[in-house]
């Protein structure tokens, strides 16, 4: 069952616009680690059957299952933003959070062997760097409600034009 999310912002990707260039991964790894290593990106480009392309990062679920399953209380969720924080001192890399995530949005850092999760670049003044730099404007920081509003808007526009 896919866990729901409604109240928090998260980074979403429009698969119609995404070309699979992976620049979001470069920006992410550089912002978070200071080096270019797409293997350590917290947003992941996915391509299926050659033409289905999108990027996936943490969806900030309400009552996030990754937080619930963490046996060492290493994962906590910010009540305001929904962002999941990982306490490196507590995390032991057991990967239960990865198994609990329906979106495959958590990864284990190959060097530290600890969990890493998108934090929407909350420390950066201009917000998520991947959103800022996506050359096709495929990425945005939004909420499900906002997406629904936009879908309704689009529908009405199209019907009016018809």
């Amino acid at each position: 069952m896919i866990t729901s999310t409604s109240k928090y912002k998260y980074i979403t990707c429009d698969p119609d616009k995404c070309i699979g260039c992976q620049l979001c991964e470069y920006v992410c790894s550089y912002t978070k680690t200071g080096e270019y290593n797409t293997y350590r990106s917290r947003i992941r480009t996915v391509r299926v059957d050659e033409i289905l392309i999108t990027s996936i990062a943490c969806r900030t679920c309400e009552n996030a299952p990754c937080v619930t399953v963490c046996t060492r209380k290493a994962l906590t969720q910010d009540e305001e933003t929904g962002i999941i924080h990982v306490d490196a001192d507590l995390c032991d890399g057991c990967a239960w959070c990865i198994e609990a995530c329906d979106f495959g949005a958590i990864s284990i850092n190959p060097i530290t062997k600890l969990a890493e999760i998108c934090d929407q670049c909350e420390d950066e003044e201009d917000g998520p760097q991947c959103v800022l730099w996506c050359p096709k404007d495929a990425l945005e920081l939004t909420t499900p409600d906002r997406r629904a509003q936009r879908a309704r808007h689009k529908l009405v526009t199209e019907e009016a034009l018809r």
Binding site: Y39, I51, K136
Partner: protein, 628 residues
């Protein structure tokens, strides 16, 4: 050393051994990466004079200097072996995820020696190497093999360069494919097949360390921003397929095996038509913000379900050049090539040769007998199902396909010997490599560029069509500027092929694609990556060195001035209709231009390289071996 690992991985398939070789920074400053470094590794590791399909011919990978960094379109690598088609240097480029994952391993280059007794998948896992049994991947297509390897290794970060059934079957025009992109043209697939090398897989977890990451990031994103504007519009909107109508209007669109340059069905095979009726999605290589690959599908009829990236070269070759205007069939032919793993350009030009043979009575209907059509079939120009079936026969080396799988040079020689015919007259290749989609009878500078090219009939290694098409010179005549132009355009292209950067970014540095517009920006990118102090002249030398090492390789393999020639048709048979009708490239014109070209290069009148020239380029050890 920044931007490089400083070491080359050697793999011996015969003895299942590996070792590594450290290279000094000065070596990297000479050969940089891509086709230049790959060709240099080939120079260092081959047994000169060897049979290209013997274990003595190595497979040489060289990654790009910008692979794995955010520098746009820098995710590319070079691949070199001695070409079984030309007997000379076979240098190809491919790109995307393989290149990026390769960069994150511990190696700048990989040299694969020997031959395996059983089919093998070499896995390079950071700094470790595994020889995996590849028996179960046999018969799988290129895309399918990559996916199967990822499934088996339980990791979608594993990227593979593979051969398909064509390479397994020893088709000489076979390619190596990764991530839907091809290291094409010169028969790498056949070389891999001869080694029982089904796939090379890479998984890298290391970061890429550069000298000045902040500056590199900033410069990269400035270029990325300008790459979304008019400077790349052609590639982003319709892709290179937009050339179909442009070339047709100039009478340069190869039609029915280069008999004509205007195709009556051009509208139906145009980039515009493709966009409207067949386009599925525009996709990019890893590290590329342009996204030129126009994934297109046959949506109805006999070929429904066929889907692959369509660009101009494969489109002209399998479409107009075979007289075929049914886009569904053209997509199917290219799909068969891409998944089966053979070169869609050489395929189209070989199919068109076979069709002309049929029309001229060299081949009969019965010659085309195959499992699908046991009594054979009619193979006139324009018969779509014939084009598709011959393509499948080439991939499988079935029936006449075994002959055609050798490419037009060998196929025509064999037929002419066996049947006393003169089919070499319409075998459209240079040095054994099938020609590209611009008729050189109406592009005289380009004719020179093609004739002197080190890898045969290839538009990617010379940009000499540029002054012809832009009207810088009269495209129908020759004059004393052409030698310098051919030198200048081939070395310009070689800079991009060596870094490598995809040439589609060439206008995005300053809006101007010429050296003055691009070289200072490229020097700054190199410096931020490596910490070197490169300037305009250093960038310019990258191209000259790249071309020189390839030429040196060819000379050592026995190249002589006579090898720089065009095919019979371009020398002797003018087109009858269209804006380029009435012209040929006469032997006198070509020989005159060759004189100019060798002089411009600083070579001898025989086209050999003086010792002093090689020493001036810093290639002393090459001077020892082949300098005169």
């Amino acid at each position: 050393m920044y931007g490089y690992h400083g070491q080359i991985l050697h793999i011996d398939l015969t003895n299942r051994k590996t070792w590594h070789e450290r290279k000094p920074e000065s070596w990297y400053q000479m050969y940089i990466g891509g086709v230049s470094m790959a060709s240099r590794l080939l120079w260092e590791n081959i047994e000169p004079g060897c049979d290209p399909l013997s274990p003595e011919n190595p497979v040489c990978f060289a990654n790009g200097i910008f692979a794995g960094t955010p520098v746009p379109v820098g995710g590319k690598y070079g691949l070199a072996s001695k070409s079984p088609l030309t007997g000379f240097v076979g240098d190809s480029l491919s790109g995307s995820w393989f290149s990026v994952a390769f960069k994150r391993t511990a190696w700048d280059g990989i040299v694969i020696h020997g031959a395996s007794e059983t089919w093998v998948n070499v896995l390079i896992d950071d700094d470790r190497v595994q020889f995996r049994d590849a028996e179960k991947y046999l018969g799988m297509g290129t895309f399918e093999t990559e996916e199967a390897i990822r499934e088996d290794l339980l990791d979608d970060q594993v990227r593979s360069a593979t051969i398909g059934p064509a390479g397994e079957n020893g088709v000489l025009i076979a390619n190596v494919t990764n991530d839907g992109r091809q290291a094409g043209r010169t028969g790498h697939g056949a070389v891999w097949g001869s080694k029982k090398l089904k796939a090379v897989s890479v998984r890298g977890t290391n970061g890429v360390t550069v000298a000045d990451p902040d500056t590199l990031m900033k410069m990269s994103f400035e270029i990325i921003e300008s790459s979304q504007g008019p400077d790349t519009a052609k590639y982003r909107l319709l892709g290179t397929a937009t050339n179909v109508l442009n070339m047709n209007a100039m009478g340069l669109l190869p039609t029915r095996n280069y008999q004509e340059g205007v195709f009556e069905g051009a509208e139906l095979v145009s980039g515009e038509y493709l966009e409207e009726h067949h386009k599925v999605k525009k996709i990019a290589c890893a590290q590329c913000p342009i996204a030129c690959e126009q994934v297109s599908a046959a949506k109805q009829g006999l070929y429904a379900g066929a889907m692959t990236g369509i660009e101009y070269e494969c489109l002209y070759a399998n479409g107009p050049n075979c007289g075929i205007s049914d886009m569904n069939a053209i997509i199917k032919m290219i799909d068969v090539c891409d998944r089966g793993g053979h070169d869609a350009m050489s395929n189209g030009v070989t199919v068109s040769w076979a069709m002309e043979c049929y029309e001229r009575g060299v081949f009969t209907k019965e010659d085309f007998a195959c499992e699908k059509y046991p009594d054979g079939f009619e193979a006139n120009f324009g018969i779509a199902e014939a084009g598709v079936t011959i393509t499948e026969m080439i991939r499988d080396r079935e029936g006449l396909g075994a002959l055609l799988a050798q490419g037009t040079k060998r196929a025509s020689a064999q037929v002419d010997k066996e049947r006393g015919t003169e089919s070499y007259k319409w075998a459209m290749n240079i040095k054994g490599l099938e020609n590209p989609g611009y008729d050189a009878r109406g592009l005289k500078t380009f004719a020179l560029g093609l004739a002197v090219g080190t890898r045969g009939g290839c538009h990617n290694r010379t940009a000499a069509y540029d002054p012809d098409i832009k009207g810088v010179v009269d495209r129908f005549t020759v004059d004393d500027t052409r030698g310098e132009l051919a030198k200048s355009t081939e070395e310009y292209a070689a800079v991009y092929d060596t870094l490598p950067l995809c040439k589609f970014i060439r206008r995005c540095f300053t809006g101007k694609a010429d050296r003055a517009g691009a070289w200072p920006a490229i020097a700054a990118l190199i410096n931020a990556t490596t910490g070197w102090n490169y300037d305009y002249d250093d960038v310019d030398l990258i191209g000259e060195r790249a071309f020189t090492i390839k030429k040196a390789f060819n000379i050592r393999e026995g190249w002589t001035r006579e090898d720089d020639h065009l095919n019979y048709r371009w020398h002797n048979e003018p087109m009858k209709t269209g804006p380029s009708a009435g012209h040929v490239v006469s032997v006198e014109e070509l020989e005159y231009m060759k004189d100019l070209y060798y002089k411009a290069k600083g070579w001898t009148p025989e086209g050999l390289i003086p010792k002093s020239k090689l020493v001036a380029l810093g290639m002393d050890d090459v001077a020892e071996e082949i300098g005169v």
